[in-house]
């Protein structure tokens, strides 16, 4: 099966100690590798203001991860772990590979079109017919 790319964001309570966050990240990495996946990137965005109240908190500690894997079970397991983790108040997983594929396809398409454009000569003698069409109508 082809490989899939996911964005995984979770929010911890603002009072969570650093080592607890590290522990959660470590367990996620462990279970990802167990299911044949891989954690590409871990970013700690730090404590940010939430746009709305979540679990009575107005702030949260954001952690952003990029995970790649081939089995859908992996995401299931990661989400289960986030669900049972006490400091985590919100999480979201988004599959991104299809959108990135679309992005690269569009970029390729544009490049090809840009390469072709100079060869095409400009031909726009369409002003007189447009004027003729306009006069009978009025």
């Amino acid at each position: 099966m082809e490989e899939r790319l996911y964005d995984l964001i979770f929010i911890c309570r603002p009072a969570t100690p650093e080592e607890d966050v590290n522990k959660i990240v470590a367990t996620l990495e462990h279970s990802a590798t167990e299911h044949g996946g891989k954690v590409d990137k871990v970013e700690r965005w730090g404590t940010r203001r939430l746009a709305y109240r979540v679990a009575k908190h107005r702030e949260g500690f954001y952690v952003y991860m990029v995970v790649r894997g081939t089995q859908g079970d992996m995401i299931k397991e990661l989400e289960r772990r986030l669900k049972v983790a006490d400091p985590v108040i919100k999480y979201q997983t988004i599959r991104l590979d299809e959108e990135l594929k679309r992005q690269s396809k569009l970029a390729r398409h544009r490049e090809r079109r840009a390469g072709r454009r100079p060869r095409k000569p400009a031909a726009t003698p369409q002003a007189p017919p447009a004027a003729e069409q306009a006069s009978p109508a009025s």
């Binding site: 964001i9 939430l50 746009a51 709305y52 992005q103």
Partner: protein
């Protein structure tokens, strides 16, 4: 009664509130409403009319209002993927209370509006953007 509101503003709009007790027999809520109308709607529209209609008049026939063509911002910048994590960028495409702005306001093309809506909804889900601002 009907002639009063038309005559007052050109003469001295600022002088009306003090002198209003004499005229405001039947309409106590008159002055505030008129002030609001002149500050918000009347001024800009009247200013915008002559520059567009004057020079553009001979060429464009009867069209009085010249509206600048809106261009899709994402098309100009060749954006192929709208990142939901850039909440500051997305903030420009929602109203103050958090509603997604329609295409006719922002000029976004249909394809990018679709992606934009998706990105905003994703950002909302993870509390980067509000569903609705609390007051």
């Amino acid at each position: 009664m009907a002639d009063q509101p038309k005559n007052e503003p050109p003469a001295t709009p600022e002088a009306t509130p003090p002198s209003s007790p004499q005229r405001s027999e039947g309409r106590p809520s008159g002055p505030p409403r008129r002030e609001g109308g002149y500050g918000g709607g009347g001024g800009p529209r009247r200013e915008g009319g002559p520059p567009g209609g004057g020079p553009g008049g001979p060429r464009r026939g009867k069209r009085q209002f010249f509206r600048k063509k809106k261009v899709c911002r994402f098309c100009v910048e060749h954006v192929d993927f709208i990142d939901y994590k850039k909440a500051e960028l997305l903030q420009a495409f929602v109203q103050d209370r958090g509603k997604i702005l329609p295409r006719r306001m922002t000029g976004t093309c249909s394809r990018h509006q679709r992606w934009l809506g998706e990105a905003i909804k994703r950002a909302r889900n993870i509390a980067l953007m509000p569903f609705a601002t609390e007051l």
